[in-house]
């Protein structure tokens, strides 16, 4: 063991001394290989009588991660990984019409980045960049030809170009280093899993911790360069229980923190876990409702989930790519809010801003902080919603009619698509109310509706986590716009008493429900999350800062997955 510790110290010393300054970084083998091959590609990469590239960018992304997970009370994995990926964007044609924003074959949907050698070896890196650029160029030429023939068959007036102009921007920060202590987190993860031992109705539970340091090195043929890095720590605790009718309920806690701020640990974490488990047990033992229509108060994690799923997820993609095949076209979705600029989308008392330049808020580092976006454009703060009206949307260099220029919000997904996304989103009501007043207003609305009770929702389902426990297959691509409540209470209108309830799913919630928001709390909290977009299951790190939210009316119906109950007793129950 001593030898291991000694080697660990050597490792940390090596990594620390490797933290070279930004000036030196641009002369590093990685950047030199990118720059030299980009120069050569722009000047000499050409097939006779075919267009040359008019734009090339390279991103080399280094991921170093620690993944630790436990099931029941024991570790099932503790692993460290290092990966390096190459992202290439190569455009032929011209900005008004190029090879981009067109899905010529199904392979374009899953154009994953290429793995590179992790050694900072100039010649090897350049060799791999060369081979991949050659393929990217030939694919770009073919895709442009497919796109042109598509337009011949489907005459369209294209008013909006494929690529907007942008000022070049240079931002070279220090490479970031993963300094997380795996040993400490093995103990934390194990203890977190052990904390659930005492809850007799839980059938299965998992704890996972992943720390990932990401360094992105970027250059493009317009002179933009950046090196940006961040460490993301993701901690997830999930547990499953079944109600007596077999309904499966999966409760969870999810934390995402950034850089030197790690997720909660020790007693703070254990306390949160026990609260989550107690809530889950209570809901599993609660009466089942068949339907509901009336006011719903979203608090805690559910308030963020409401904003994330109904508002943020529907902001992008802003423009649907054209596709050669109809079946591909049907797979592609755009955000339902993307086309509603200048229209009322929320009540007049709500303002929403996106502030990439905020490093922290309420004592927490914000996951969405960044200076430059993934297309090398300087990030700008945005007012997205003012007095309930959608003013603008986050956008990258793929313009839309009403927003012709990038506001520095492009995110590169794992299939190398650039899609606009939020950074740090702040939801701000004009007249925030205390939780007590929100509950009072909920009860008042119930009386107006003639309802005996209203609903308070604290946690919505996370289908990815639920599916891990389900015996039946779940299609993660076909999820409702707003996922089902997990931790939910009915609040009686007459005396305000609260009882856990279960068994309801939202009946076709849409972005229109946002306009039915009638009040918000003064209890804003920072929620760092991996924000999904309205396209497959891609996600990106962001922060949503929101208070509790009261909606005037929502409709819910009976639902939830029912599975056979166990025939024998969980060994944990026997031990208790």
């Amino acid at each position: 063991m001593k030898a291991t510790i000694k080697l660990l110290l050597i490792n940390l010393i090596i990594l620390t001394t490797a933290n070279i300054s930004s000036g030196a970084e641009i002369d590093s083998p990685v950047f030199r290989a990118m720059i030299d091959e980009l120069d050569r590609s722009m000047s000499r990469l050409a097939i006779e009588d075919m267009p040359k590239p008019y734009f090339v960018s390279y991103r080399i992304q280094d991921n170093e991660s620690i993944s630790i997970s436990a099931r029941y009370g024991a570790l099932i994995q503790s692993q460290r990984e290092v990966h390096r990926f190459l992202y290439i964007e190569l455009r032929v044609g011209d900005p008004s019409q190029d090879n981009s924003n067109f899905i010529g074959t199904w392979r374009d949907m899953y154009n994953m980045p290429k793995g590179l050698v992790e050694e900072d070896e100039y010649n090897s890196l350049r060799h791999q960049i060369w081979l991949n650029t050659d393929k990217a160029y030939k694919n770009a030429l073919e895709n442009l030809a497919r796109k042109k023939s598509y337009f011949q068959a489907h005459p369209t007036t294209t008013e909006v170009p494929d690529f907007s102009t942008a000022e070049s921007f240079v931002h070279l920060s220090e490479p970031i280093i993963l300094e997380t202590d795996a040993k400490t987190w093995e103990t934390e993860v194990r203890q977190a899993a052990e904390a659930l031992d005492e809850f007799s109705s839980l059938q299965d539970w998992n704890v996972s911790y992943n720390a990932m340091a990401i360094n992105k090195r970027y250059i493009n043929s317009e002179g933009s360069q950046h090196l940006k890095g961040a460490v993301y720590h993701a901690l997830t605790i999930s547990a499953t229980a079944q109600a007596e009718d077999g309904q499966r309920l999966t409760g969870y806690l999810q934390y995402l923190s950034r850089d030197d701020e790690e997720p909660p640990q020790n007693d703070e974490l254990i306390g949160e876990i026990k609260r989550m488990a107690a809530d889950l047990e209570a809901v599993a033992a609660a009466p089942k409702l068949d339907e509901y229509a009336g006011p719903v108060l979203f608090s805690d994690y559910a308030s963020m989930q409401l904003i994330s799923q109904l508002f943020v997820r529907q902001l992008s993609p802003v423009r649907k790519p054209l596709a050669s095949d109809e079946w591909i076209s049907q797979e592609l979705k755009t955000g339902k809010l993307a086309g509603r600029v200048n229209r009322r989308v929320l009540p007049g008392f709500v303002t929403i801003t996106d502030e990439p330049d905020r490093k922290s808020y309420l004592g927490h580092k914000l996951a969405g902080y960044q200076v430059v976006d993934d297309e090398g454009v300087k990030c700008r703060n945005l007012t997205l919603v003012e007095e309930g009206r959608l003013i603008t949307v986050p956008i990258g260099r793929l313009p839309v009619k009403k927003i012709p220029i990038s506001n520095g919000h492009a995110r590169t997904l794992y299939n190398q698509w650039n899609v606009p996304g939020i950074t740090n989103l702040f939801v701000k009501p004009d007249k925030p109310k205390t939780m007590k007043k929100l509950v009072k207003e909920l009860r008042s609305l119930c009386r107006d509706f003639g309802n005996e009770y209203g609903l308070l929702v604290k946690l919505l389902e996370n289908p990815e986590l639920s599916s891990e426990y389900m015996w039946t297959d779940m299609d993660l691509d076909e999820q409702p716009m707003l996922t089902a409540p997990v931790i939910m209470y009915r609040v009686y209108a007459d005396d305000g008493r609260m009882e856990p309830v279960r068994g309801l799913v939202f009946d076709e919630a849409t972005i229109r429900n946002l306009r039915d928001i009638v009040a918000m709390g003064n209890d804003e909290q920072v929620y760092n999350l991996r924000q999904p977009i309205a396209l497959k299951q891609f996600k990106y790190p962001a922060a949503i800062i929101t208070p509790s939210i009261l909606t005037e009316e929502m409709e819910l119906k009976g639902g939830g997955v029912r599975e056979p109950l166990p025939l024998s007793v969980n060994p944990f129950t026997l031990e208790r």
């Binding site: 030898a3 050694e119 900072d120 015996w471 025939l567």
Partner: protein
């Protein structure tokens, strides 16, 4: 060089850290815990439903892996992992008919679709281990009951089956435990070797991609069942490999590779061997790039020993796997030919997973117990050309009621019969030089200007189902044209071997005495399993080759950066 050293030291830490963490504190016997929970499950579930559970097996596969490589001259970060995976096998009703019975018309999804992969506790926490076993037992029990209902209906609505043998056979309980041992690889030494050999290719502009790698896998299986079996056994799989690829002017991608298999670090090749093979591979690649493309052809050929091993594994071996004699959709090439001459009289074939080495080379198909806990056994499949037996599991086939220890799977899959070490033995063997001469004689006899020597084969596939052509395709990597008029041999490219099994076996006329093992990994219904095939070079009077699919890519437009002066 300084930069390299830092990189290597930093990354070499990972496997060491990782193993020290998860091996700590192993204080309970995992087999005891598994047995205890298995007894509890049998007590609770055996008669919990109308259809009784009569068999329960718990298998935990522990896998420690490490790999390192150099690609295009640069080091890739080494990767290591250490995981345990759980398989729970439940059988309900009775050995005569149970939930594993084929659902005819159900296709792949109903009969062979992968089960879920269950990650299992790495630590000596009895409660956590029992809970994971309990959870999966409840799931598999429920699925077994569901499937049995479908089996009963399927039997009612379909015609009577041809093979009415039972679904499971009795077996003697087995008990075996061996001490745990782990591969000790000198990572620093190997990193240096990989870097040195991997850098060799940098000098050759026609080498588009190159890779040199080393990988180790330590696999331990823990297994208990309700019949009293209790097993713990391990295998060590080490591999090294070199691969280079380039492109001909017509866009055909060409590969050359060499792989080495061992069961311990000391049996891996040394640096000099790797370098010598690297030099040879570069020469072969250069020759292939300039080689002519062969047109479709039928004529005499030699399959060199390892190529012949792949040939027999694909074309013969898969067709003598037990479940293929029973499956209603299977072609059943040999099912009714027991006791008949199916190969030339000078050939005998046996599968013997109990052999750990052949001529000093470690065999990947070696194991002590199969995945149903049956001891590995040598099976004489063909004796002097006559079919005698099949490779069987505990699922009987007509006239072969017992397992001969060939039930194999990758974790997360259902077991089926698979090959281990397939050994082809010839009573009619000459030196390889004589075999070459015989090839030329055969060309002259048939009036062919040349024959072919298949020196190396990438692999292949065979189709055994009735609803598709029951043919095979084998993908050669290095082929020589041998002229009958004694012109020098010529490297050729762009061909695949195709054919149907019964025809091709009748064309084998002679073998060499150069029996050599081929070590590989075979993928089939039950996942990927390590296998070996030992064969001499064989001369066939007639083989058919067809044009290979090739992409239509042009070679790269710009020269490699290293060579762009």
């Amino acid at each position: 060089m300084k930069k390299l050293t830092r990189f290597v030291v930093a990354l070499c830490l990972f496997p060491l850290m990782h193993i020290s963490v998860l091996s700590a504190g192993e204080t309970v016997d995992i087999l005891d815990v598994m047995k205890e929970e298995l007894n509890r499950s049998m007590k609770n579930l055996a008669d919990a439903s109308e259809v009784p559970m009569y068999y329960l097996q718990y298998s935990v596969t522990e896998v420690r892996e490490y790999s390192a490589s150099v690609t295009n001259g640069g080091l890739e970060a080494p990767s290591s992992s250490h995981m345990r995976y759980l398989d729970v096998d439940v059988r309900v009703s009775s050995m005569e008919l149970d939930n594993t019975h084929e659902i005819r018309g159900g296709g792949w999804r109903e009969n062979y679709s992968p089960r879920r992969v269950i990650e299992f506790p790495m630590e000596a926490d009895a409660k956590a281990i029992k809970a994971a076993l309990w959870n999966e037992t409840e799931y598999q029990y429920s699925k077994a009951q569901e499937r049995y209902t479908k089996v009963l209906t399927n039997r009612q609505v379909k015609v009577e089956e041809e093979d009415l043998s039972n679904d499971f056979s009795p077996a003697q309980p087995q008990q075996f435990t061996e001490p745990l041992s782990f591969t000790q690889l000198d990572i620093e030494k190997w990193t240096g070797i990989l870097k040195k050999v991997g850098s060799y290719f940098n000098d050759f502009p026609f080498v588009q991609e190159s890779s040199v790698r080393v990988a180790t896998t330590d696999k331990t299986t823990y297994m208990v069942n309700n019949e009293g079996s209790r097993l713990q056994h391990s295998n060590h799989y080490l591999r090294a490999g070199i691969s280079v690829s380039g492109m001909a002017e017509d866009g055909m991608k060409l590969d050359r590779y060499e792989s080495y298999t061992a069961a311990s670090a000391e049996n891996l090749p040394d640096e000099a061997t790797l370098m010598k093979d690297a030099e040879r591979l570069v020469k072969e690649l250069e020759a292939l790039i300039d080689a002519p493309v062969v047109e479709p052809f039928i004529g005499p050929a030699i399959l060199r020993h390892r190529a012949s091993g792949v040939f027999f594994h694909e074309i013969f071996g898969h067709r003598i796997e037990g479940h293929r004699q029973k499956g209603s959709e299977e072609g059943q090439t040999f099912t009714k030919k027991v006791g008949e001459l199916i190969l030339p009289e000078f050939l005998s074939i046996y599968d013997d997973p109990t052999i750990a080495q052949f001529n000093g080379i470690d065999l990947r198909g070696y194991y002590k117990f199969d995945d149903e806990g049956t001891p590995a056994q040598r099976v004489t499949v063909v004796e002097k050309g006559i079919l005698r037996n099949f490779l069987t599991t505990r699922s009987p086939i007509e006239n072969f009621p017992e397992s001969n220890g060939h039930s194999r799977r990758e974790y997360g899959r259902d077991v089926v019969a698979r090959q281990g070490n397939l050994i082809i033995h010839s009573d009619k063997a000459v030196s390889f030089e004589k075999l070459r001469e015989k090839l030329k004689e055969e060309c002259k006899k048939q009036g062919k200007p040349y024959g072919l020597i298949f020196d190396d084969i990438a692999g292949g596939f065979t189709m055994t189902r009735r609803w598709m052509p029951q043919a095979f395709k084998v993908i050669p990597l290095l082929v020589y044209r041998v002229y009958a008029d004694n012109r020098p041999d010529e490297v050729v490219r762009g061909v695949d071997i195709v054919g149907t099994p019964l025809t091709c076996f009748s064309k084998i006329i002679l073998t060499a005495d150069d029996d050599t093992p081929f070590n590989g990994t075979c993928g089939a219904e039950s996942g990927s399993v390590p296998v070996s095939a030992v064969s001499p070079s064989i001369l066939v009077s007639e083989i058919e080759i067809e044009k290979r699919f090739k992409k239509q890519e042009k070679p790269p437009i710009l020269p490699p950066p290293r060579h762009d002066k």
